[in-house]
Subunit: 348 residues, 2 copies
């Protein structure tokens, strides 16, 4: 089917109106009219081929909430009128150990990305949520257990699960001291989740202006990472550091803040390799643990948890045509904390 | 008491005969006549102040086995004539969470090193096992559950526990695929322990000449890390990599060999920071985990395990006066796999 959206035709091009061919609704597919789509920093990286060459034309967007308007003949979990969500991937091999465990994001054959890639057939291109409509297998579709503020639900599909999953994997809870590094789309969710799980949360930031914001989000403490005396006083004090920073930075400085057996949970991908001193890890049995989004089952668990505990993203709404300006502000970290596109504006 | 040994008087000096003042036997101390002392690579680093300025004169040696010749009035766990071992540390604060857990190596106040440091009083210098006699609190003394081949027991006190502890912490056992990186004093013990724990062990090495040795030690497979095709075929195949390499090397190349949730256990301390790409960890939920020697209880457990399973170090015996030549061979990795000083030769 022909679908309207916004995308880019090459790495230098702005994101602009585009028409593209979306796959038709198969027997196990649902068709979603998109209500809201979050603007993730990775949209910008991929539109500009900053993480290797992208597939053009590219239509970004992988934080999608909408309403189901059509279901295939074999669909059992959704019906027309249901709210539905789409996250970072829309298929996987379904047969490898990770897929069988419901950790499709670590699929041995690589997950099928929501955009900037191909379906399992290797030829049909995927296009993201900066568009009117998405078609997706119900097995990779999320139920949305909210009835209002749906624009604040959209970023949970990427920023939410990306921070929820490592905190759960690490077993973060009551009695733990957790530091969050970076107060952006991911960091603001990390603060909310860590506090909700019962941990004592410290926001570590280079900017004193973020203290009030961090505390409003639920952080118990704020620490200025540029202040040597503060950093010295925090040595060996955290059980976990959730590191959301995607810019190059000195990991060792923060690894030293971990207790014995403390873990740095890494979810941001800086463009360059980080230098790690073995002695910093070895001397206190510290770890660095990577984590990438979450599987479908865990993403659903996260959405259900958010509904139960009233956890939502803090967002700034924009119209579709203003997305290029939003990108510039994302790059400057000038957003509290996620831009979300009101997809009604696509039809304006 | 006056004690004879071998030590260095400054970072440029060779290791040569020296007389020094060892503390007297206190009520909780035992006095050990040293039979054997292993030559650890860290002896060389510290003699030469390669890990920061050392305390001179320095008498190295922290892989010590000997016979108890005197016990203090309050000693309960040892008697004259018992065999005893001394490892990398001889005291700690005894009050911090790590000490209370029996993980004295991670003491908040820093462990007291067997040499190149000071006792808790901050002024009495510690001297190591390249000497006739050691005096140590019984609480930091190991029982030696062997009656013969004691020279092969000495390296267990550092090389043994350094590899045993991370494998136990990570829960390595049957069904796991483990790669060992580096076939030296640590690596050869890592192969023995991992195989003994039931894992399928692969030696990863840059040198084809090590294949026969690795297999003789118990490795099931040998892989040449300099061969791109071999490395490609091993991608995503190991549950654990025990990395014993103390020279600077590319971690990312090996991190990619780990499965989903695979862990690199880091015990070698290269002089420079390692570059780590966040994406390599994130894309498969991989971890890097540091580990340093082991606590007294775990070191005893390791010794008991070795006695039960007949695990010993492979050693080359040397006389005390030949230690400087041995150092040059250690630096060239020309030793199978640990030099051990026969301390009888000190009296020659």
């Amino acid at each position: 089917m022909k679908v309207h959206g916004y995308g880019a035709v090459n790495p230098q091009a702005p994101v602009a109106p585009i028409e593209f061919e979306r796959r038709d609704v198969g027997p196990k597919d649902v068709k979603i009219d998109i209500l809201y789509c979050g603007v993730c920093h990775s949209d910008i990286h991929m539109v500009r081929s900053e993480w290797g060459p992208s597939v053009y034309p590219i239509v970004p967007g992988h934080e999608i909430v909408g309403t189901i308007t059509e279901v295939g003949a074999e669909v059992t979990k959704f019906k027309v009128g249901d709210l539905a969500g789409v996250g970072v991937f829309v298929d996987s091999c379904r047969e490898c150990p990770s897929c069988k465990k419901g950790q499709e994001q670590y699929c041995d054959e690589e997950m099928t990305p929501t955009y900037n890639g191909y379906y399992r057939d290797g030829v049909t291109q995927t296009f993201g949520g900066y568009s009117s409509t998405y078609v997706i297998d119900e097995a990779y579709t999320l139920h949305i257990p909210f009835t209002k503020e749906l624009e604040r639900v959209a970023p949970l599909l990427c920023a939410g699960i990306t921070t929820y999953s490592p905190l759960r994997y690490a077993g973060v809870g009551k009695g733990h001291k957790v530091a969050v590094l970076g107060l952006g789309g991911l960091g603001h969710m990390a603060v909310k989740f860590a506090a909700s799980f019962g941990a004592e949360v410290t926001m570590l930031s280079t900017s004193p202006s973020k203290e009030a914001d961090a505390k409003a989000l639920g952080a118990h403490h704020f620490a200025l990472s540029t202040d040597p005396a503060t950093m010295e006083s925090l040595k060996g004090s955290f059980d976990f550091i959730l590191n959301t920073v995607a810019a190059s930075h000195d990991l060792n400085k923060f690894l030293g803040l971990l207790k014995v057996e403390g873990k740095m949970l890494l979810v941001g991908i800086p463009p360059e390799a980080a230098e790690v001193y073995a002695a910093t890890l070895i001397s206190k049995r510290r770890s660095i643990v990577g984590s990438m989004i979450g599987g479908i089952a865990e993403t659903q668990e996260m959405l259900d948890y958010c509904a139960e505990h009233n956890i939502l993203s803090d967002v700034e709404m924009i119209n579709m045509k203003d997305v290029n300006e939003a990108y510039e502000r994302v790059i400057k970290s000038d957003v509290k904390y996620r831009f979300v596109i009101d997809m009604k504006s696509l039809r304006d």
